[in-house]
């Protein structure tokens, strides 16, 4: 139902979108920049990562006056296909959403050396350079997780907090490492319980498993649980609601998934990253390589608004902001392993 | 004579891509009579009835009911006009009871809570009124074939039919059940109903009907009062100039001490619900002999055929002189690939023979040669090897099956109801070919519900009752009385 509704809304949206006057035969100098964005297969409408990238694109259209088009591939083999559609058209900048595009971006970037590419979460293989016309957008999730650890440690009454990871891989280890470090920095006596849901991608889609892990952590005394586990986290929220403890969301603001039981969400601002890349392209400052976004670049953060203000004690907020200032000023190094 | 015609079909034409099924057919049926429509398979009887029942629309012609022109777009409209059809293949919901089946689709009472009591009393009233004996509370699954047919008739009457079409109603009945059906139909006639009786069986037509219309190749070729005609005349009208091959079996000489083609020793086959479908059957068929198996259907004939052909697990011993050729009782279900062309149907079962194939290829030329030979040997019509089996008439479909099986030059043949639902011409031809196989030394197990057929062809006749062998008689000693008693399970030899 929700899905069909969103499909209908998107249809309406795209119908209205098309009524915009098309700039015909405009001079290259005055013509707005055209950006092409390729979603992951089935990515659009995920309320997270892909949608966040799209918000960045829309913001750029509004604030920077660019034009954009997007493609949703229907099958894995269409990822490269879609990138090439844009590359062979008049799109100087092409954005791919997701690490899964890494190979495809490499191939197409090689075939179209004059075009610029940006890949969100581009997977850097050790010892391998990013092609000169590709920007790899990476996030220092450990930094925002550090703040999460600070808030959790200073909010907990039992002095025991939990972490539920999705799949046991280096990407998720960054969240865990930052969280642990933040908790220790705020209060060395706080105990951190850590579990992962599994070793396959299924671990990101298993709410039942998430609930089971969360309940066992609660049984061990945890009263705040941070999850970095996709929809597995929905089970964590469920456990929080059942046992009246607090949970912490990830990537985007998850307050609405369990109103009143979400302490805060550790966000990853893909929209910000997308916006910044477009800005650089417009300013002629596009340069291949890795762009890492942390707290300083506003690429990551945590939610503090009217919904959860009341849940976060003043001291926790205070210390978290102090930590933020230290990290931004490079006075505090956050571990990622 | 004043026009009392209940039904008048005039100049009906129905064309199909390959054939003209009805070519200017006239049929006038007087009110309150039993009127037969006879003809070979493919003569156009079924199409005509489907037109009358609103299942098929005619290309030309008119239909009048009691003098008023009508035009049916669907069976629903025909039913509303008082026409009812009792199909050859029953359309009953087996787990439901008799009265539920009768009222199904027209339940009395309100939409969501129908009135079962009224339905029951309505059904028993009908069955009393017309003397149709059947228990309204019985489950259809537990009824005999004859009883199922009575339920079908009740269904039609319940919907207010004053004109009943019965499509080959006796094909599935035992002689006793036939008599009961006829009694029912006569009562219906007395009550003022008009009955259209479709059949192949001239004897029944003469015994039951008032008038008879004969069809051949899509046309009406004659209309007679039964009192003023004879079976011979009707048969001549049906087959036209074609000669009826009078197939007489030469008497089998046992003294020649022939070899055995088929031998069964204490064969048992398990049936449903822990019962035995076949019990301790011992018999033998000599090479060049035809052994008939008579009996009311459902007394183990099917299991016997399938066991002999190795299609059913059994206890005991069966010895065959070679692989048994098999003419199954239901050619649509077990004999033919209806959607496949004629030549593929002729090939089925022989496709592994070296004459037609190597492991990696089928010899198209050899297969066509064989197919054409079969077509001319069996006078297949139309003589088109590419036509789908479904598009042939019943008789021609059966010719394909019989032709294929006999082309194997079998040492053993199991023929189950080989001429059922087949027109006289095709039946004669099939009889002739079975006799030829016998002459060539094939041992034949001929299962049939038609005693005339058995008496005409067989050297000996065995009777099955309730899965047991009641006895075996040489043809010379066989008579209807003895066989009838055995078939009814009354005494054993």
């Amino acid at each position: 139902m929700k899905r069909s509704l969103s499909v209908a809304l998107l249809l309406i949206f795209s119908m209205t979108a098309c009524r915009r006057p098309q700039p015909q035969a405009a001079q290259a100098a005055s013509a707005p920049l055209k950006v092409g964005l390729v979603f992951d297969v089935g990515g659009r409408g995920d309320k997270s990562f892909n949608d966040s990238a799209f918000r960045g694109l829309q913001r750029a259209a509004k604030e920077l006056g660019i034009k954009y088009d997007y493609i949703e591939p229907a099958e894995p083999a269409d990822r490269e296909n879609a990138l090439r559609q844009f590359a062979s058209g008049d799109y100087p900048l092409i954005i791919a959403v997701g690490f899964i595009f890494t190979d495809d971006v490499n191939r197409v970037a090689e075939a179209f050396p004059k075009k610029h590419f940006a890949c969100v979460d581009y997977a850097l293989e050790p010892g391998q350079a990013v092609p000169p016309n590709v920007v790899a957008l990476k996030f220092r999730e450990q930094e925002s997780s550090f703040l999460g650890g600070v808030i959790a440690a200073l909010t907990s009454k039992t002095k025991t907090i939990g972490f539920v990871g999705g799949m046991d891989v280096p990407l998720i280890h960054k969240f865990e490492a930052g969280y642990r470090a933040g908790a220790a920095w705020a209060d060395a006596k706080v105990k951190v319980l850590v579990s992962y849901a599994g070793v396959t991608p299924q671990a990101f889609k298993d709410p039942a498993k998430g609930e089971e892990i969360a309940l066992s952590q609660i049984a061990q005394g945890a009263d705040i649980i941070y999850h970095a586990s996709g929809s597995t986290g929905l089970g964590v929220f469920e456990a929080a609601r059942e046992k009246h403890i607090l949970a912490m969301g990830v990537d985007s603001d998850q307050y609405k998934d369990a109103p009143g039981f979400v302490l805060t969400s550790i966000t990853k601002n893909v929209d910000e990253a997308v916006f910044q890349v477009i800005q650089r392209q417009l300013e002629g400052k596009f340069k291949g390589g890795v762009i890492e976004l942390g707290l300083k670049e506003k690429g990551v953060g945590y939610v503090y608004d009217e919904h959860n203000k009341a849940l976060i004690p003043a001291r926790a907020r205070e210390q978290a902001e102090r930590a933020r200032a230290l990290i931004v000023a490079d006075k505090l190094q956050v571990p990622f392993k | 004579m004043p026009s009392t015609a209940a039904i008048a079909l005039r100049g009906i034409v129905k064309r199909y891509p390959r054939v003209i099924a009805n070519d200017g057919v006239d049929l006038v049926v007087d009110k309150g009579t039993i009127h037969a429509v006879i003809g070979e398979n493919g003569a156009g009887k079924s199409t005509l009835m489907k037109i009358l029942y609103g299942m098929v629309r005619p290309d030309e012609g008119s239909i009048e009911l009691a003098g008023r022109p009508v035009r049916f777009a669907s069976p629903r409209e025909a039913i509303a006009a008082g026409i009812g059809m009792v199909h050859q293949h029953f359309m009953l919901v087996r787990p439901l009871t008799v009265y539920e089946n009768v009222v199904l689709g027209q339940e009395p009472g309100r939409a969501l809570r129908w009135d079962r009591r009224q339905a029951r009393s309505e059904v028993s009233r009908l069955s009393k009124e017309y003397g149709i004996a059947v228990d309204p509370e019985a489950r259809v699954a537990e009824l005999s074939v004859g009883e199922e047919q009575r339920v079908e008739i009740l269904k039609v009457l319940y919907r207010g039919a004053r004109t009943l079409i019965l499509d080959e109603p006796t094909a599935v009945l035992t002689p006793g059940e036939c008599e009961e059906l006829f009694a029912t139909l006569r009562r219906l006639k007395q009550a003022g109903s008009t009955i259209l009786f479709i059949s192949h069986k001239l004897k029944e037509v003469m015994a039951l009907c008032d008038r008879v219309t004969v069809m051949r190749r899509g046309k009406t070729v004659g209309e007679k009062a039964c009192a003023e005609t004879s079976r011979e005349e009707l048969a001549r009208l049906m087959v036209g100039d074609m000669e009826i091959a009078e197939s007489k079996s030469s008497d089998f000489r046992y003294e020649a001490a022939p070899e055995t083609a088929l031998e069964l020793e204490s064969v048992c086959v398990a049936g449903p619900h822990g019962r035995r479908a076949l019990s301790e059957i011992s018999l033998s068929v000599a090479a060049g002999e035809i052994l008939g198996v008579a009996g009311v259907e459902g007394n183990g004939q099917r299991e016997l055929a399938q066991a002999v052909c190795g299609l059913l697990p059994y206890y005991g011993r069966i010895r065959r002189a070679g692989r048994a050729a098999y003419i199954p009782e239901d050619r649509h279900r077990c004999g033919l690939l209806l959607c496949a062309p004629a030549w593929e149907n002729m090939l089925l079962g022989r496709h592994r023979e070296r004459e037609f194939s190597s492991p990696l290829s089928l010899d198209q030329a050899a297969i066509r040669r064989y197919g054409r030979a079969l077509v001319s040997d069996f006078d297949l019509r139309p003589p088109d090897l590419e036509q789908r089996a479904a598009a042939f008439s019943g008789g021609n479909q059966q010719k394909i099956v019989v032709g294929r099986e006999l082309s194997k030059s079998p040492r053993v043949l199991v023929a189950a109801h080989p001429t059922r639902g087949v027109d006289i011409g095709a039946a004669a031809l099939i009889h002739d070919r079975i006799l030829r196989a016998k002459a060539a030394g094939c041992g034949v197990l001929l299962i049939s519900a038609d005693l005339d057929e058995l008496l005409a062809l067989c050297d000996r006749i065995a009777v099955l009752y309730s899965g047991r062998l009641m006895g075996v008689l040489p043809r010379g000693q066989a008579n209807l009385e003895t066989l009838g008693r055995w078939m009814a399970g009354l005494e054993q030899a």
Binding site: C18, P76, A111 | -
Partner: protein, 341 residues
């Protein structure tokens, strides 16, 4: 054969024309300019070598899965497990390819083709056995095997074979690569269409020959047309049912060749998403005829590529609706034709 291509061709052309009409109707309904859409479709798909190449690439996969479904349907079985069989075949092939780094291409490629068919066949083994021995409905069993294949290959890739921070395995040795069309015709450069297309076409011809020209193929079709009649004629129906499912699985198993040997050279989680179901659609439109499968696969590939190439102008959902509309139209038309015949 020529007449056959003609009659099948006419059928698919009709389906194509109808789907185009539905598409333009949808475009007008969305308030877009149908002339522009048509022009873009021609220029981006049919006249662009890259677009054409991608279409042929998609056609290749669909021929494999379409043949798998058509073979099973033709023989009376509803194999909806093609997708799982693609994964099984693709994964086994990748594992064997990674284990044999030293083999020359002339040995390795035929070996991998056989292994992928074997993997697909293996994945249909259990449904085939259950069908033959227990009468278990193949729709249920093959569907379950789909889930198992996806979960199992996902697990194996991540647990054993994957390159860090990706969801695919290591690359196969270079000798295992099938040549891209771009290597011979520069115009196709960049496109993924590769020699697998020739394998697929040869397979379509082989399936046709097998079904219509060999005694075993005849038996399988007879089992599909009327199992009772086949049994009465001495065909061992149960063992043939088993064979049909396994053969169908083997055909589907080969579909991975296109993506793995021809394009990416590694096994990627979920690379064949939906290909099994599209195979069913292809078989339906092709009326389960191998020659028809080639054309129907081309039609669906065109729709898919057009959907992608026009995605910036019209929403992809329209093309998804269109695919279903094609199937609807075809099913309706077939029933009507069936009535008349």
């Amino acid at each position: 054969m020529r007449a056959l291509i003609k009659s099948e061709g006419r059928w698919i052309t009709a389906a194509a024309a109808l789907s185009l009409a539905v598409l333009l109707l949808g475009v007008v309904g969305l308030g877009r300019n149908p002339a522009l859409v048509l022009r873009l479709m021609v220029s981006r798909v049919l006249l662009s070598p890259y677009g054409l190449g991608q279409t042929l690439y998609k056609t290749t996969t669909l021929i494999f899965t379409g043949l798998a479904c058509a073979l099973a349907f033709r023989c009376g079985l509803f194999n909806i497990g093609a997708e799982g069989q693609v994964y099984a075949g693709g994964f086994l092939m990748t594992a064997v390819g990674l284990a044999l780094p030293g083999l020359p291409a002339v040995l390795l490629i035929p070996l991998l083709l056989v292994v992928s068919a074997l993997g697909g066949g293996l994945w249909a083994l259990l449904p085939g056995y259950l069908k033959a021995k227990r009468g278990a409905h193949e729709v249920i069993t093959t569907m379950m095997m789909n889930f198992i294949a996806l979960a199992l290959t996902n697990y194996l890739v991540m647990a054993r074979f994957h390159v860090p921070e990706t969801i695919h395995t290591q690359e196969l040795p270079a000798a295992a690569s099938l040549p891209l069309a771009g290597a011979f015709a520069r115009t196709f450069q960049g496109s993924a269409v590769n020699a697998s297309l020739l394998v697929a076409l040869a397979l379509a011809a082989a399936v046709w020959y097998f079904l219509w020209r060999t005694p075993l193929g005849f038996e399988l079709r007879a089992v599909g047309a009327n199992p009772e009649a086949a049994r009465s004629s001495g065909v061992p129906v149960e063992s043939r049912l088993f064979l049909i499912l396994v053969a169908s699985g083997a055909l589907a198993g080969l579909a991975g060749v296109n993506f793995i040997l021809g394009y990416k050279h590694y096994f990627e989680q979920g690379f064949a998403a939906e290909e099994g179901f599209l195979g069913i659609a292809v078989a339906l439109v092709a009326k389960n005829h191998p020659v028809g499968v080639v054309f129907a696969a081309l039609l669906f590939a065109l729709l898919s590529q057009a959907g992608l190439a026009l995605n910036t102008v019209i929403p992809r959902e329209l093309f998804e609706i269109l695919q279903s509309a094609v199937i609807f139209i075809v099913v309706i038309c077939q029933n009507r034709l069936g009535e008349k015949a």
